[in-house]
Amino acid sequence: MEKIIFDNLQETLFHERLDNGLHVYILPKRGFSKTYVTFTTKYGSIDRTFIPRGKEEYVTVPDGIAHFLEHKMFDKKDEDVFQKFGVLGASANAFTSFTRTSYLFSTTDNLYENTKVLLDFVQEPYFTKEKVEKEKGIIAQEITMYDDNPDWRNYFGTIQSLYKEFPVNIDIAGTIDTIQEITAEHLTECYETFYHPSNMTVFVIGAVDPDEMMSFIREDQNSKEFSEPEEIKRKYPEEPKEANRKKTVLEMDVLRPKFNYGMKCNHTILDGDEMLRQDLSVNLLLDILFGRTSEFYTKAYNDNLIDETYHYDFIFEKGFGFAMVESDTDNPEELEAAVRSTMNSLAKKWTITEDDLNRARKRRIGQFMRSLNSIEFISNQFTQYNFNDMNLFDVVPTLENIEMGHLKDAFATISNEESHTVMTIIPGSKED
């Protein structure tokens, strides 16, 4: 077991890669009564074209399958996994993102029994035709719920307007039509390909003894049989530089328009330190351009172009990345002009000062320190970074070393207007 100490943060991380390829990370947190355990596979909605384990040809599976699989993992022959966690006092959940599927529980009691339930249920699939069919009704309601949610439609609609080819443009849950095509055989094929321990990570954080927990997981894994690790072959289409659509308008039953300005990042095939630096640099840049201290924000807020729903964000993973500036607004056209002019002015003349950078840096360092109070944040963020070969605990030293040149490079990855899109939801009767 390797022990990594982060002196300035007063944190110690323990790591081991087990014989079957599984990565286990343990981070004890003093003073916490809860323990949070996640078991995550590097498999999400974008992994739709791949060579199944033991086969030689690429296949493309129906949309929404990673999420469907996540639902079905909880269903066993004659027991329900939630019931098992419940009786042991743990609150369990799971989520599927573009790149990951995570199973997790948090507990203040029976830590090892709960860990065993987690490891077992994720490693013992049980898919039958009947159970697969039954799940379709529940997932259809989940999809419908998102369909009625204007904020989700605005967020996802922006991604679809940005991306023409890359499968981040596919709804994570699929559609009511695509999930009908899903069979138990599909689930088994995806499970066998992506749920091998060598494609997975366990992260344990909170009230935990690292030595005991590591032995517990090691023994559990050694007692189970797994095939040899194999490299997973996935295929992603090439994404053009331009946005898929320049403008998208959707009518829904809302009182006020919802606006989203999306900017596709054109430099995404990278990992490790370089990726972390670019990620943090774009975030600093957005803070300076669109944060609450910015000229843009001050003017837009005073001119009634944005309200309390205003926010901006940068999503960045290997292969895709996009920034968004969104708000409810009575004036989508003016807001669009304000965002465009903020980007264009900086392209013409670099006005960001060292003071701006230093202040934004201080803010991000403080924000990172604050987020270390949340064991859920650490666990989820650590795993996401880890799958891209970045280390969460390098955030502060990386922030400290970011210079103006990095901000300029970061700006260049999102500033091309051809890669931008505008999505608006306007009041009216809904489509179809």
Binding site: N8, G86, V87, G89, S91, K134, T144, D147
Partner: protein
């Protein structure tokens, strides 16, 4: 769990010293009697105070100063609880120990004190342009509920069950009341809030208790005042017949809300028993509603129950295909019947108590969770701890759950669904 220091009559400081967090968290809560009109004033006031101050008359300057303090978090909000309206100031800053500089917490405290006592005034009153802008912001907040179908359905259920009552009042008031605000009337609200409201101040983090108490006392010198806390009185609804109300918007899914009333409220000795009964019914993923409506019938993705204890309301909410409303209502009714007939297993009871235990212990793993939970439970017991409350849940029997279920009465079935083509 908190050390209490009475700063003045009606002004109390609660400190919790812990090394658990890398930050220091502070909350100041101003509590007054809930009144719809005053709620509007206080909601706008909390936005105006949060916007700027005499030191930083521009919002961007105030935000820059916070960024310089390593992104110190500062926001104000308005909420309600029972018959009380609560304005909160929330601040969180990094503990100096983790930074290369020192004095961040002291600076942040000073800034909060200045924001409260030296607001951004022009000619003796609030800046009109700021007030008008924040009136608009609060109006937009009130309107935005319509766009969130789940929240809208819930709001409608409360309005139908408890019209003109604290249970259905918004902590931001009504659009009309917000419109009526002038800079002069807002200044009056500000003065009354500072001079008359009951005030609780909370600090959680690695702090020296005595030193901090002295600092707070000198920096936040609120005068003494009378306590205002009054309990909510439930309307008598026992003899009301259950109603059905269907409303429509352009949407796909049906949002079902089933409302029940109960005489067992937060201050009732049976409160912990009702918490367990609600948990067995629909609080968790092992609960009757989830197992029978979602898992067995595949009818819903979301289905659960909640207990608005201050108002004596238990409600079930589900996202369903609107055509299946009758079936869903029948199934929900069957789960209530099962509870009333004592058809609850030891396993269900044990799971519920275990998960309630987990949730209260987990809430204590955040500073804000500690403040919010203690702020509520201290009304029942100043020496409240999670363990004490868990012991109450552990004493609950199946008979207790049955008895609680027999004390909930169906009042309203509300469905918000799509328009017919």
């Amino acid at each position: 769990m908190f050390t209490k220091v009475e700063l003045q009559k009606g002004v109390n400081l609660y400190i919790r010293r812990t090394e658990q967090f890398k930050t220091i968290t502070m909350s100041i809560k101003w509590l007054s009697e809930l009144d719809e009109k005053q709620a509007a004033f206080r909601a706008v006031l909390s936005n105006v105070l949060q916007d700027s101050s005499a030191d930083y008359p521009k919002q961007s300057d105030l935000r820059k100063a916070l960024d310089e303090l390593y992104g110190t978090v500062f926001y104000m909000d308005a909420g309600k609880r029972g018959r009380s309206h609560i304005v909160s100031l929330n601040m969180e800053c990094v503990n100096d120990e983790y930074l290369s500089t020192s004095g961040v917490f002291d600076e942040a405290l000073k800034m909060m004190s200045r924001i409260i006592f030296n607001p951004n005034l022009k000619d003796g009153t609030f800046d009109e342009s700021v007030v008008n802008r924040e009136k608009r912001t609060v109006i937009e907040r009130i309107r935005s509920i319509y766009d969130d179908k789940g929240r809208y359905a819930h709001k409608r259920m409360l309005e139908l069950m408890r019209p003109n009552d604290p249970a259905s009042m918004s902590a931001s008031g009504t659009e009309k009341d917000v419109e009526s605000i002038t800079t002069a009337s807002l200044l009056d609200t500000y003065k009354r809030m500072l001079d008359e409201d009951e005030i609780d101040i909370y600090v959680v983090g690695d702090v020296q208790e005595n030193e901090l108490a002295e600092k707070i006392k000198s920096m936040f010198s609120f005068p003494a005042r009378e306590a205002v806390r009054k309990q909510y009185e439930q309307p008598d609804t026992k003899n009301r017949e259950a109603r059905q109300v269907f409303e429509r918007q352009d949407m796909k899914q049906g949002k079902l809300q089933v409302g029940y009333s109960t005489p067992v409220s937060f201050f009732h000795p049976d409160y912990p028993k009702m918490q367990v009964a609600n948990g067995v019914l629909g609080g968790f993923a092992h609960s009757k509603l989830f197992m029978n409506v979602r898992e067995k019938e595949s009818m819903a993705y979301t289905v659960n129950s909640a207990y608005a204890a201050y108002y004596g309301i238990v409600y079930v909410m589900a996202g369903i295909d609107a055509d299946l409303e009758e079936k869903a209502v029948k199934l929900i009714g069957e789960q209530i019947d099962a509870l009333q007939n004592g058809n609850v297993s030891d396993l269900e009871l044990d799971q519920t108590i275990a998960l309630l235990t987990n949730s209260i212990r987990s809430a204590f793993d955040s500073a804000r969770g500690q403040i919010e939970l203690y702020d509520q439970y201290k009304q029942l017991d100043e020496d409240f701890t999670a363990d004490k409350w868990i012991a109450k849940w552990e004493a609950v029997s199946i008979e207790d759950v049955q008895q609680m279920a027999s004390q909930i009465h169906l009042e309203l079935i509300y469905l918000l669904s799509g328009r017919e083509a």
